[in-house]
């Protein structure tokens, strides 16, 4: 009886809460119509879409925050990065991205597109996106005839190189320590504990069960992939950094390397099972063989999509929860303040899950690579077992 009354009380409270908070909330607010002829001061409205994509996408600078200075101008706290562009007429140009002044200025005949610029010039969104570098002529207009090849060190590239340096530094330090004799016969010290745990884990849980006797041959590759994804995942979780593993180009290259390793380690039996599966009726082969051939390509494709989508989804989730405060605040300032503790609590919760996901995705990428290599190097003894069963 008592639980029933509590239940009905909860229902009442939640319905009341829903009733209060059920106002129309739009992520993109329609621009208020300005009276013609009067260039009214534009109030900057919070645009969740722009914030989310500004975080997820690659950029030519590390952007930390924007604030309004005492002079009424908007200032950005950023770290500029080098821009390297090539176009046919001008050849290579190399300068810092701060020369663009966040898209306000053009430099050496190039301009940086921003969302405001695209809206202002009414450019085609399918062709141009914020953050792209375009060629401009003397009048400051976009020159569509010039194709610009952007080879810049964007923030994803810079952060990946930094993470790589950090990883190599840690590994060399640990390796040197083993060279001096610490940890060989005695207990490991300091960073050796972490690395030894990781190496043991990859060896015992990933390589040995899937690759058996040949695991030592593939262990260096598996460890490299594991540590590289792990360090990039973890560095990407630090606020203000770029989303490296959530970049499709990054995961594409990793999966291509895995694909090459799988193909090079494949043996005759692997290809026989694909092209002419033994013990299968002829008419089933008509269906089975195309599926098997497609399967060769879907495996690395799934590796690529899985890592990419997991990291992007995690980052979007975190930034959506933070954006919710500002969407609520656009409704009413006090609702925004009242909502922020819940939002921050949820964000911290998701953040810890993301730390777990950072390890999990590195593990999954590695173990799936090991499983696929294991399938490719599998010997003939399995066939006899199948034959005996039939």
């Amino acid at each position: 009886m008592r639980s029933k009354s509590i239940k009905s009380l909860l229902v009442a409270v939640f319905s009341l809460g829903l009733l209060i908070l059920s106002t129309q909330v739009l992520a993109q607010h329609p621009e208020p119509k300005e009276p013609a002829g009067e260039p009214a001061k534009k109030e900057k409205i919070f645009d969740a879409n722009e914030v989310i994509f500004g975080h997820i996408m690659d950029a030519h600078e590390f952007h930390f925050l924007s604030y309004k200075g005492s002079d009424g101008q908007e200032h950005h706290a950023t770290i500029p990065l080098p821009v390297i562009v090539y176009s046919k007429g001008k050849g290579f140009s190399c300068f810092m991205s701060s020369k663009f002044h966040h898209g306000e200025h053009n430099h050496e005949g190039y301009g940086l597109l921003t969302n405001e610029k695209i809206d202002e010039l009414k450019l085609d969104r399918n062709k141009y996106a914020a953050g792209h570098i375009v060629a401009v002529n003397e009048a400051g207009l976009i020159d569509e005839s010039v194709k610009v090849y952007d080879l810049s060190l964007t923030r994803n590239v810079v952060q990946m190189l930094l993470a790589l340096t950090l990883l190599v530094f840690i590994l060399i330090k640990v390796a040197r320590k083993y060279g001096t004799g610490v940890g060989v016969t005695s207990a490991p010290k300091g960073m050796q504990n972490t690395m030894e745990t990781i190496v043991n884990f990859v060896n015992d849980e990933v390589a040995k069960p899937n690759l058996g006797a040949k695991s030592n041959k593939y262990l260096p590759y598996l460890l490299t992939v594991f540590l590289f994804i792990l360090i990039n995942n973890i560095v990407g979780l630090i606020p203000g950094t770029a989303n490296v593993t959530g970049n499709i180009a990054f995961t594409f290259v990793l999966s291509i390397i895995s694909f090459i390793v799988i193909l090079f380690s494949s043996n005759k039996h692997y290809w026989m099972h694909i092209i002419n599966p033994p013990g299968v009726p002829g008419w089933v082969k008509v269906i089975l063989v195309p599926v098997e051939i497609l399967g060769v390509f879907t495996k690395p494709f799934a590796l690529m999509i899985r890592l990419f989508a997991n990291m992007v989804a995690g980052h979007i989730l975190i930034i959506c929860l933070i954006s919710l405060i500002f969407i609520m605040a656009a409704l009413n300032q006090y609702v925004g303040w009242g909502f922020s503790p819940f939002s921050i609590a949820f964000t911290i919760f998701i953040y810890f899950i993301e730390v777990l996901v950072a390890f999990l995705q590195a593990f999954i990428f590695t173990i799936l690579t090991a499983v696929f290599i294991g399938q490719a190097i599998e010997g003939a003894h399995d066939d006899h077992a199948h034959a005996a069963a039939h």
Partner: protein, 78 residues
Amino acid sequence: MNFFLLEAMANAGGAIGAGLGAIGAGIGIGQIGKGALESIARQPEAINDIRSNMILTAALVEGAALFAIIIGFLAMVL
């Protein structure tokens, strides 16, 4: 049919597709968790093997769901 309705339908289609993908993955991962828990209850000493296989299978199921979400996203964007 005017352009805005078309775009709205594309958005709705993407969202519904992603939702259906999530339902499928939810059922699949739930089944995996159920199976893993039952087998751990039967053979607690095999917990390590079961756990790593559980994560592996869950990752494969999740991959299918992520395909659905990516396709849904493409339906919205393109």
